[in-house]
Symmetry: C2
């Protein structure tokens, strides 16, 4: 009898705990159910009311269209995770996430991941959190490094076929990676496929960042205007052992994710001016913009092919008709087909790049001018992307 | 016998579920333990390694000092919650949070809160999440509206005495509220106490925002350059019933929180240039900056008193000695003691303010120019703060 009473109490406790667990995990019991149609209704229980209000405010014509788009995000770290969360909360149709890293306590100085997720794969932890936030979004996650041969082929296949309607390409690829090799892999894939993508990056000293829109054949690709690649003579493991790591801040990464997703929304939902390049210098609160034409001598043959296709497409189009639909890049000719739209002077840029840190041999911080540029992409790299570096780079390219 | 076996199994299941629940809630078992001293050690388990790296990178001299500071955040919504999360992840000493609102599903288009928190008070939900993220931070939360008489007194008392060392004032107050009345209450409190604070705001059409640093007596307060207050002839409840609500985006709010906390870090840890005003126009990716002197005829007597104190303090200081420690506001005289540092032309501002939405009578969007300005702060208000509006305003003030 006592045993039977004990069983009943325990069974009750199990049911209680199971309910609490579901609540704690933000599961269906406590989260929200799926919503079939986005409604503009202003009620406390409508997660889309403040987004649908963009229509009434005259900002976006057709907000519901967001549900038809698929975006692939490569790199789910400090920038990529917040990017994924913003798009999820905006109600994007489908997200593809690529990363091979695990969540660590060392990531806790950036937004999104939480200490109890340490040890989980980043894509798995992200998918779990994002599904709870918005069950209307479809997720497809890949826990691998896109730069190995097999994975690269699979990556190409998924961005070619992984849209909401299987077999159709994604609408946009976002690069939120932290190294040159992965950026180059995305660049190669997108040039081959003619896939439009956006680049993002944050400097190793944590106080600069940028976003860039790359339309193959139309704007400069990552190989057209190779960034100043600074090679370290020591490999990454040695660096870690010796206690050297890049700095990062949730602020800079949050701003970069914010301007990246804003550019994505403007591009997909057709409002405002889509930026080709937007930089962020946190030391001076300075935001340079520019646009770059592709380099006709680009080392990537697919970029050169896309440039030819773009010329043919441009020539075939009736003039002026689309002029109020799309923003044009201001093209001005120079030796390299690269043009700075920013009115920023070199001195302003120099002043904005902050103090030069005291670093071990071989390590240079992005957004400062390295003493010596070595085009060696096998070791630790940083990417410099200020307007000044570009001019520096053009001078160097002329000397090659 | 069978019953006894059943009890054992159930007891085991209860233990399992309790463990899982602790993990799901991000409790001690799964989160992280407190850390006594910030270490620069580069290990996967050190949540401060990437922040301490700011020292080695030459950006911040003494990052550990972050632990000595207390920041009060008023408003834990789209901007305030992300602001609190960023400061928590940066390892701030203590946070005071003030809000009287509840989490709703309608908030899910912005970062931070999750659907399973719907119904909880914002400060309670925020404290729970933030403690899990960083147990080293101290939290003090107040679930009330600071604008009522009793609460205002308590608010004044807490910002005067609520620092890490009880009895000392907080280091900074951050305004992350969404209405004029609350901003005015913070302004009144900070002028009386001589408390340095930062303002933040996002426009009702979701595509503009700003941050502002206010040093009582030194830079213009919220009453010195009264924003263009646009009154609605209908009250807020009617508006809600009629299906009118402001738009919001996680992108714009994330960027505003990012530039706000970046300014806080620069101010507290003494690096880079602290901005007096930084705007964000998402339509054009345009970031105006300016600095404003206080108005000698400010309607707030405590502001005028602080201006006198500042003059006395300035006169007593030996000239040039502190010139490389602190950034100075460029002061240029005009009738109103207000000066625009931004080089932006009126046309640029007009172009940047986006399309004018079709709104119900009495509702005007911030960052566009209202037809008629009514100084009536009892109904729905919006705050306009572009450079252009300021000139408009000065003309109107002359006519008063």
């Amino acid at each position: 009898m006592a045993e039977r009473g004990r069983v009943e109490l325990l069974e009750q406790r199990v049911r209680e705990l199971e309910r609490e667990l579901e609540v704690a995990r933000g599961g269906r019991a406590a989260g929200r159910t799926r919503i079939e149609t986005m409604s503009p209704e202003v009620t406390d229980s409508n997660p889309y009311s403040r987004l649908m209000a963009l229509k009434r405010m005259g900002i976006v014509k057709d907000y519901e269209k967001i549900r038809t788009f698929t975006v692939a995000i490569v790199g789910v770290g400090g920038v990529g995770s917040v990017t994924a969360e913003m798009l999820t909360r905006c109600g994007i149709g489908k997200l593809l996430l690529f990363d091979y890293d695990k969540v660590e306590l060392a990531n806790m100085n950036r937004l999104f991941f939480q200490p109890h997720q340490a040890g989980l794969s980043k894509v798995q932890a992200a998918e779990h959190t994002l599904r709870n936030i918005n069950p209307d979004v479809q997720f497809e996650v890949h826990n691998y490094n896109i730069t190995t041969l097999d994975n690269f082929e699979h990556f190409m296949d998924r961005i070619s076929n992984g849209a909401l309607e299987e077999g159709k390409p994604v609408d946009l690829v976002l690069s939120c990676v932290d190294n040159f090799e992965a950026r180059m892999a995305i660049n190669t894939a997108c040039n081959e496929l003619g896939q439009i993508w956006m680049e993002s990056g944050v400097s190793e000293n944590a106080v600069s960042g940028h976003i860039q829109l790359i339309i193959p054949g139309e704007s400069a690709c990552f190989a057209c205007a190779p960034p100043l690649v600074v090679a370290a003579n020591i490999d990454e493991k040695t660096l870690k052992r010796e206690g050297v790591c890049a700095a990062s801040l949730p602020t800079t990464m949050g701003v970069v994710a914010g301007i990246l997703v804003q550019n994505v929304l403007k591009y997909l939902l057709n409002f405002g001016t889509v930026s080709y390049y937007l930089g962020y210098n946190a030391m001076q609160d300075f935001f340079p913009t520019m646009a770059m034409k592709p380099n006709p001598q680009c080392s990537d043959q697919n970029c050169r092919r896309q440039q030819e296709n773009y010329k043919i497409k441009e020539a075939a189009q009736p003039k002026q008709e689309e002029s109020d639909q799309e923003e044009e890049i201001v093209h001005e000719d120079n030796d390299w087909g690269i043009e700075l739209v920013s009115e920023t002077t070199e001195d302003e840029l120099k002043a904005a790049s902050g103090p030069v840190p005291d670093l071990p041999v071989g390590i240079t911080v992005a957004y400062t001018i390295p003493n010596k540029v070595i085009y060696n992409v096998t070791a630790e790299e940083t990417v410099a992307e200020s307007g000044e570096s570009l001019e520096d780079l053009m001078a160097k390219m002329r000397n090659l």
